[in-house]
Symmetry: C2
Subunit: 396 residues, 2 copies
């Protein structure tokens, strides 16, 4: 018996557990403190009424002989939802067949499981700073990882370096953690690079619903040639508050082939062997997101979070602090005031302002000296937190 | 870019698609025929009222500011459900910590994803006939597969052969497709073999709720030493009709170590990297299965299916046809009447009796000459199907 020895090489991510411990220790010592959390990227607004109604109705259906649903007819997901998603793309001029869309329990599962399709002997190119699961999933398979630097100089939107070869490329736009969003030219450069290197681009579009600037692409398939090199992973988590409801989708174009194998067929084979579909009630809940009423309700929540982000950006503008994000994204990525390193600023913000954020260093070496705030708290708490932030920053 | 070339070696499983095509062709040519389906292992009875109420209530909760739930606090699942499952085991004398139980979207996902923990350079031992996904998931990773023969001679319950080495061992009891159930001695032999070979036993307990004979183990952990070699995968699919609702659990004991690595910790690391938890509403639905009312309602459905199985077994007894299963299992595995091969019998049963079953050959070479029927249709259709079966069998 040989275990997968690559697991010995995975670094334990202590980021959120360390944050949790620091916050617990502080609140235990200061039980009167009103701590405001702008740390974790989790939504807080309730599910929209249309979504709740659809989910509750579907649950009732399953309790009747006529309305009962057993196994999902295809592991790819019910056609009604795949058609609704294809229609969502069609509204911005992207034509997809429902056969190119795979419903899943969320972007994190798909981003990990998609790696099954590729040999361990490939090089993954990952931006730094980054969502840590991209790295861990590759290390678990023993794949080589190279990094590209996201820095102030490139606005945290790195472009390809022809001198570096990669087989798998991760792009997340709007980005977690930096909130930076690629324009069409930037994404075109990545697509062209992927095509030249025979690479596959894994495009994480989980935050696309936050884009309001119509000139910014919300899907990689708005870029020429992407259907021959890119897989897009998207999610209802941030778009419709589904972080605890779990639904996402992945697009694997029919035109995507490598070494004579069709990746759409390979992914279908992977999912039909190791997945059994997304729950019927969740399909119906997700379908309701695309009704006129459901979509309007979801966009109201997004507008609410974006107004929070504007409040946060306003404070940073007044203070003259460099940041990315906050406009087409629920995240703000800022340079720590006073030239502090990111953990020192974390401690000061917690202890002196009773506000919790995320130290940039936890997302990679290039995150040192930076800090992430999220727009997912209430309006009142966000405004209060930023007043405290401002007082602290002016004192540094 | 190298794709995972092992995908070239996966045989396409045409079993259920071939069956579908044959049935479609027959019904198109005979639109008046009243075809009864005893083929696919999918439940048909509605979800129990307690489960529906819990799921609908949880959906409503998510629509309120106070009741909203975001990310599942741990990818391992909510503690309330892990405690309910630990209690379910405790009722039959198996002590598990909730930390040993991982909630998932179903047994098929876990049975596939668990293989991430093991090197490709291992040998998997798989019974023939078998649920095809066990084989495919190993071929996808390039792992060696050896088979052990389940035959009439061993009652379709093969025992270990000391001359054969294996690193991963698959046991499904009650078995799909044969319905055969291991006694304590048989499972003890497998556990002892696994311990001697330093192997890990993957125990598929998806049908345990159908066991009525109190002398038969319903969990591998009823067998001595299993906590040092076995992972158990179980499901709400057949126990509570969750085939379209998607929930299961996997037990990875704290005591299970290989090559100095703790497999419970490894599985936690895998799930926290490539999974984001099971939906909150599904957790609440599953929790309701273990309430007094919910459990009684689920057991009523199982009793209904088992009464169907008794009707089927009664017909076979009258005809003197060899079979396994049907008592502690929803499946009956029978020798094809008239000495027919399994596809010929499939065609005759479809065309002459308008009944659909599954040819044993589709589950492996040892399935040739055998046939699977399932107990998941209605009482009336099951009784009618078996009358037609009897007329056909007497004519062969």
């Amino acid at each position: 018996m040989r275990i997968n020895a690559n697991y010995r090489n995975i670094k334990d991510s202590y980021l959120f557990s360390t944050i949790g411990q620091k916050v617990s220790a502080y609140t235990a010592a200061h039980p009167e403190a009103d701590v405001i959390r702008l740390g974790i990227g989790d939504v807080t607004r309730p599910l929209s009424p249309a979504v709740v109604d659809a989910m509750a109705k579907a649950a009732r259906e399953l309790g009747t002989a006529e309305g009962f649903h057993g196994y999902i007819p295809s592991e790819q997901g019910y056609l009604f939802l795949r058609e609704a998603i294809a229609d969502y793309y069609a509204r911005r001029g992207v034509t997809l067949s429902p056969d190119e869309i795979f419903i899943s329990d969320g972007a994190k599962s798909d981003l990990g499981n998609l790696l099954d399709l590729f040999d361990a002997d490939n090089t993954a190119l990952i931006p730094d700073p980054v969502y840590p699961a991209y790295v861990d999933a590759n290390v678990m398979a023993g794949r080589r990882v190279v990094y590209c630097d996201a820095t102030v100089e490139n606005g945290f939107l790195p472009l390809p370096d022809e001198g570096v070869h990669a087989d798998l490329i991760y792009i997340c736009s709007p980005n977690n953690p930096t909130g930076a969003v690629y324009g069409r030219e930037g994404l075109q450069k990545w697509v062209d690079y992927a095509l030249r290197h025979d690479a596959v681009l894994l495009f994480d579009a989980a935050y696309e619903a936050f884009i309001e600037d119509p000139s910014l692409p919300r899907s990689i398939y708005e870029v020429e040639g992407a259907e021959r090199c890119a897989i897009e992973v998207c999610s209802f988590s941030k778009m419709a508050g589904f972080t605890g409801t779990r639904c996402g989708w992945t697009v694997v174009p029919e035109a995507l082939e490598r070494e004579g194998m069709n990746l759409n067929r390979m992914w279908m084979r992977r999912q039909s062997t190791k997945y059994n579909g997304t729950p019927y009630v969740i399909h119906r809940a997700a379908e309701a997101v695309f009704t006129e009423e459901g979509y309007r309700q979801c966009m109201e929540s997004i507008a609410y979070y974006k107004q929070n982000a504007r409040i946060m950006a306003g404070t940073l503008d007044q203070l003259g602090i460099f940041y990315t994000g906050g406009v087409n994204s629920p995240y703000i990525w800022l340079r720590c005031p006073g030239g502090l390193d990111s953990w020192t600023f974390f401690d000061r913000l917690l202890e002196q302002a009773n506000v919790v954020g995320t130290p940039g260093e936890g997302f990679g070496a290039n995150g040192e000296g930076f800090f992430r705030l999220t727009a997912f708290n209430t309006r009142e708490k966000t405004a209060e937190a930023m007043q405290r932030f401002e007082r602290l920053a002016r004192s540094l």
